[in-house]
């Protein structure tokens, strides 16, 4: 059989969306969705997931890019002509209509005959477990019931694709879990392609055939739930999905990686030799046991030794923070409790080490030379020494680079040479890797051992002796 590209029901190509304020909420998003697939778009709030869904539904027009449905252009169709229906986040039931009329709305518009409508509505309500609620006022229903009606209303038109915009977000935990199972079951019965948007990583992993992780308008990773969990492609994905230890490491050679001052055998290849990388260790993949000082066998068995700093019961397992002898803090989960103060040994199997390419090793910004000892970048003027500008003339476009430790953060945001906001925090075992968003909306990366919170306003000090300047190549 010839496989055509129509294997994909929806093809999203290079879609970008720029709002009136000039901010890109989607930048160059490409995604193909297979017929009958359950795809979840996952990301923190403001990552563009809802915007993407609204582009599919026809409520927003992308600034650029194409979207096809069944190989036909979708963007030229207005919302009401798209064979796509949506389950809205806050249900958006019609308050002036009862349950029956809400569900029948789509069929009535298409002029389906009464008896057929009757049959279809009964069928849809039965599917969502709302039989006998036909004549109820929708405002008298609980959140979960309204959700079911909204679902029945959306599937009655038999759409090619069903969009679900955080449909379970307003329900309590228990109800949400039950509804997740039901959604999965309804997807199986209906055979419709589901595109589900959520910020709840557990929900995404439970429900989907494939997960699309988004951040700041860009796709970070697309994969099956197990891929996403076990082989995150970058620190953001590793940190966002589940608990993780993310550490700086050096790939010594194929299948051997060095972190926490120890060489670990691993299964990853192709990173090159002596290459700086990040590793992800899932807390449940770290083996832990009490370290017996006088036992010779233990000395060779355990790769890391340390003291348990805290131990919290999490329901099924215990979560422990272990401070290793060489100064790294690791999160470990185990069915057994090791109380704070216990001296333990840690072991990590080669296949449980996920090695990732480093996204960046230093800060780089574009700027220009203002005079023989002054340059401009990050919308700020900086004094530099004449030696740093050797070979450059006034007006030259330059590339400025400096390490993560050239930056010092100040509590008082008026203190520094410029100010910014803590945007993203990543704990690297013995220090924090912070993303600071400057006033000019550029990201500065900083390594620090001080504790900051997301959203903190900080003053930024830069040690200009540590910056390197070179001419921008055109």
């Amino acid at each position: 059989m010839v496989q055509t590209h129509s294997d994909y029901i929806i093809e999203i190509q290079h879609v970008s969306k720029c709002f009136a304020d000039g901010k890109y909420v989607l930048s160059d998003v490409s995604l193909n969705i297979r017929r009958g697939e359950f795809v979840t778009i996952l990301g923190p709030s403001g990552c563009g997931k809802t915007t993407l869904l609204r582009c599919l539904g026809g409520f927003l027009q992308p600034t650029s890019g194409t979207i096809t449905l069944n190989s036909q252009d979708l963007l030229s169709l207005p919302a009401h002509k798209r064979p796509i229906n949506t389950v809205f986040q806050k249900y958006a039931l019609f308050p002036h209509l009862n349950v029956y009329d809400n569900v029948a709305f789509g069929l009535k518009l298409r002029g389906v005959e009464r008896q057929e409508i009757n049959r279809q509505v009964k069928k849809a309500l039965k599917m969502v477990g709302m039989t006998d609620y036909e004549w109820r006022d929708v405002n008298s229903l609980s959140g979960g019931q309204q959700q079911r009606v909204a679902f029945a209303r959306a599937i009655i038109n038999k759409p090619d694709v069903l969009l679900l915009d955080e449909p379970l977000a307003a329900l309590d935990l228990k109800m949400r879990k039950d509804m997740q199972l039901e959604l999965r079951e309804m997807h199986r019965q209906l055979g419709i392609t589901f595109i589900y948007v959520t910020h709840d990583q557990e929900e995404a992993l439970t429900l989907s055939d494939r997960v699309v992780v988004m951040r700041e308008g860009q796709i970070q990773q697309i994969g099956t739930p197990t891929d996403i969990y076990n082989e995150p492609q970058n620190c953001f994905v590793a940190d966002f999905i589940g608990e993780s230890n993310i550490l700086d490491a050096t790939m010594i050679k194929d299948e051997l990686v060095h972190f926490c001052d120890v060489d670990f055998p691993c299964v990853d290849k192709g990173f090159g030799e002596m290459q700086a990388v990040d590793v992800v260790l899932r807390p449940e993949d770290i083996y832990i046991a009490e370290y017996q000082q006088d036992n010779k066998a233990h000395e060779n068995l355990w790769q890391l030794k340390g003291e348990v700093k805290s131990c919290i019961f999490k329901g099924v397992h215990y979560e422990m923070a272990v401070l290793t002898d060489n100064g790294y803090e690791l999160l470990v989960q185990d069915y057994h409790a090791f109380e704070a103060g216990t001296y333990v040994g840690l072991l990590i199997k080669p296949e449980d080490i996920q090695v990732m390419k480093k996204e960046r090793t230093e800060n780089t910004f574009l700027g220009e030379v203002l005079s023989d000892n002054q340059i401009r970048f990050l919308d700020t003027k900086w004094q530099v020494s004449a030696e740093q500008l050797t070979g450059l003339t006034v007006g030259d476009a330059i590339v400025v680079s400096f390490g993560f430790d050239a930056v010092v953060l100040e509590d008082d945001f008026a203190e520094g040479q410029l100010s910014g906001e803590v945007h993203f925090i990543l704990y690297k075992g013995n220090y924090y890797h912070l993303t600071i968003r400057s006033e000019s909306s550029e990201d500065i990366f900083v390594n620090t051992t001080d504790v900051w919170d997301d959203g903190d306003q900080v003053g930024i000090h830069l040690d200009t002796d540590k910056i390197r300047i070179k001419k921008q190549e055109i």
Partner: protein, 260 residues
């Protein structure tokens, strides 16, 4: 410390107004009822009502007033709804500016506005009569129609519009099946706020028709002012009160159905 949640403390704060209400709203109403059922000498009688129902002049004025009120309300609705709809669907900033613009004239006394209108008509050599009366009525009462409708549409959860489009409704269908039915509570309040006050208006009528046309309000006013027919005037007021109560009841039941 104030105990804001203490119901007794809070109700105590309302006492001044409750006393005011009793003296200037409840008592006059009670007096209207008493006077309506008395003759000049203070003896009980139903003659005041018999007089109303047997004199074609009063009955005719009553129905004529209802007619004028009906047309005023209709014109206000036809002009007001599209304006309210436009403002209600606009972005918040735009709509508040527009709302300010049409609420602003309301802060001037309606008599002043009406006198000004009369001047405009006389300048333009337009004879005063039914047409100018209708104009004056609509001019005065239009904001009372627009505001409740605007308010309802503005507060409407706009996601239901997207939901309707999503289910296949085009613009027209969205309006007919969603926006219009959902704006009905506002329409009912608008009608209530325009219809009854126009029936009982007398100042606008007097000024804008040079007393050529009399509405029910004018008749009540004339009878009460004459002194001799005070009890008859009270009876007419009583009839109107009953009418207002009836329409309000109708309005209430409709409103409840829609808002719940």
């Amino acid at each position: 410390m104030f105990h804001f949640n203490d119901i007794h403390t809070r109700s105590r704060w309302a006492w001044p107004y409750i006393i005011f209400l009793f003296c200037f709203v409840v008592m006059p109403l009670v007096m209207i009822v008493i006077y309506a059922f008395e003759d000049n000498t203070g003896a009980f009688t139903l003659n005041n009502f018999v007089r109303f129902f047997t004199r074609s002049e009063a009955i005719n004025t009553f129905f004529y007033s209802l007619g004028i009120a009906f047309y005023t309300t209709l014109v206000c609705f036809l002009l007001g709804f599209p304006a309210a709809y436009f403002m209600g669907m606009e972005e918040y900033k735009v709509s508040t500016v527009l709302a300010m613009l049409f609420i602003l004239p309301m802060s001037f006394n309606s008599l002043l506005r009406t006198i000004a209108t009369v001047e405009v008509f006389s300048l333009a050599n337009i004879p005063l009569g039914e047409g100018t009366l209708m104009f004056g009525m609509v001019y005065n009462f239009l904001p009372f129609m627009i505001y409740p409708i605007y308010n309802t549409i503005q507060k409407m959860d706009k996601s239901v519009i997207e939901a309707a489009r999503d289910l296949g409704a085009n613009r027209k269908e969205v309006f007919i099946k969603i926006i219009f039915p959902l704006s009905m509570p506002g329409v009912y309040s608008g009608i209530a706020m325009v219809f009854m006050p126009t029936v009982s208006t007398f100042a606008i009528t007097e000024l804008l028709t040079r007393n050529k046309i009399k509405l029910f309000g004018s008749i009540i006013q004339e009878n009460i002012q004459s002194g001799v027919l005070l009890n008859y005037g009270a009876a007419l007021s009583f009839i109107m009160l009953v009418f207002i109560l009836l329409t309000n009841l109708f309005n209430k039941t409709e409103g409840v159905n829609d808002e719940k």
